[in-house]
Amino acid sequence: MSLVVKNLKKTYGEKVVVDNLSFEMPGPGVYALLGTNGAGKTTTIRMILNMLARDGGEVLWNGRPLTTDNCNVGYLAEERGLYPKYNLMDQLIYFAGLRGVPKAEAKERIKYWAKRLEAEEYLYPSASPAPALEEKKKYKSARKKAFKPKLADQLSKGNQQKIQFMIALISDPELIILDEPLSGLDPVNTDLFKGIIREQIAAGKYLIMSSHQMATVEEFCTDITILDRSKPVLQGNLNEIKKSYGRVNLHLKTEQDATHIIEAQGAKILTEKECEYQLKVTGEEQANKLLAELIAAGIMVITFDLREPSLHEIFVEKVGEVHE
């Protein structure tokens, strides 16, 4: 299976919103669409899903135009929503039905995902323990309330997001598109979502992810496109991109002040705090030389971590370059 996005273009009047965007996913994995606000990420996703008419280009799944006939798609939109006053279970069964999942099968899957996402108490209120009340009357009314099915507007934003994530995954999709999947989640739920994303990757799914959280994207994705003002400014395999930048970031921690040696070696100090430095070096050679000098000067080195630039740094540099 493969996903090919070829020369996608979208304009609103004179304004070009997505300009000739192409990328390919020859195999399962995670493709990241990154960009500044308004760069065209969501528009690209909407065009891939054919919600928006394209002004050019095509999207192929296994060499054929992407349709729900030939590709089972799961989508978590950036603008997430649920029917605020409808029973959650009804909504999930409805969305599953629209994705072609029979009711009985949908119920099984909902049960699985409710457990996996720790959302059972909202979907199966009878499962939640009734509060211990001494008075019989109060107990009865509390039980009645506890057994009432939950409505979407009774849930917190994070818990609503769990339900929306369930909707995206309920048809067991082969192509999953996640637009800002972790925004607004607390650390516990973030880890929960990350765990599920990892499972989907391990299951050989194709994921397209759009996010502003670079660390998260870096954690999952194999290939990226950075968009800026509708144009792709950097594309390719993330490891290859990082390698091309070389190992130029040096995290150094010493027992004594090493500023004079660092300066003498020509390394650039980005930050400095109590003998802990973030340095920019020209490459491995300069870093090795610096380490040798530090040892020769009798300075105790606690941390010496030479690494490639992070995705965040690459992003800021690339987008900054364009803006200059």
């Binding site: 909407r46 919600m51 135009p65 729900t68 006939d69 798609v73 649920l82 029917y83």
Partner: protein, 324 residues
Amino acid sequence: MNKKGAFTGIGKVYKFTLSQLFKNKSNLISFGIFILIALLAVPVMSIFMGGDAESGLAFYTEVSTMEDFLNRDEVGFDSRYFIQYGYSILVMIICVFSCTYIVRSILEEKSSKLVETLLVSIKSEAMILGKILAIITFVFSMIMLMIISFVLSYFVTGMFTDTSFIGAALAGMGISADFLNIGPGLIVIAIISALLACVLLSLIAALSGAGCSNMEDMESANMAATMIILACYLAVVFVTPFGSTPAVFMSLCPFISSFAAPAYYATGDIGMGIMIASWVIQIISILLIHRLSGRVYDSLIMYNGNRLKVGKIMSMAMGRKEGK
């Protein structure tokens, strides 16, 4: 996405929307109140007017006896006016109800940001059509149940007290099965025409609703359809005094014909041929508007901004897609 077909999923949207309408508490309360009014109308009227058919007659008309009325040569102004007035006001109520529900339903989905999630699985046209059909079913069920309740109440009350004042009052208004085309056939004709009017105006209401983004715009979104409904109703009521001369024109005029034709058929001003022609014209109008609206639903449903004017929507329908 290129969905399986333009109409795939209509059944699921229909079933879900209808079930949610019947689950809605305020809808059920309104339903209950209307049925209660219909059930109580005859007994209450019989308390005040029963037992004396003459008093009922005198209350409504100057025609003093049934004999005088039946001896008239042709369908008079009273018959024509009351039949037309009664029928068109019923159609107007049904259409206003349907259009209001449709606008609310579409805006609810747009404002709760559900549209994108829905559009992965279903075409916007199918989604809107499913909704329209469900809402029309709901409104018709409500009206039918009211009528059935009224008829039931009439017969049950008739077992205990004199209800002839109702027949007398209707005859006084010139409404009598003895010389008008009133019978089961007319009921079927009226239902078909009302249904067609409802579908046609609901399509306009759906377009108007899709051109808005939040619930605050609901009132103005309702305005377009309400204005057309009012214009149709007023045209019919104002033309009625001119007798049977404009009957054919009114019966073949798109939009207006559903408000006029069944009443003209009842008064014998048009025959079955013109009646069928009127339906054909309504169906063609529905198909044309559905086709035009199909061009813009995709763009409108994703539209997020100030309410679009009808003129703008129409220019979008006639021209190319736009969006924001």
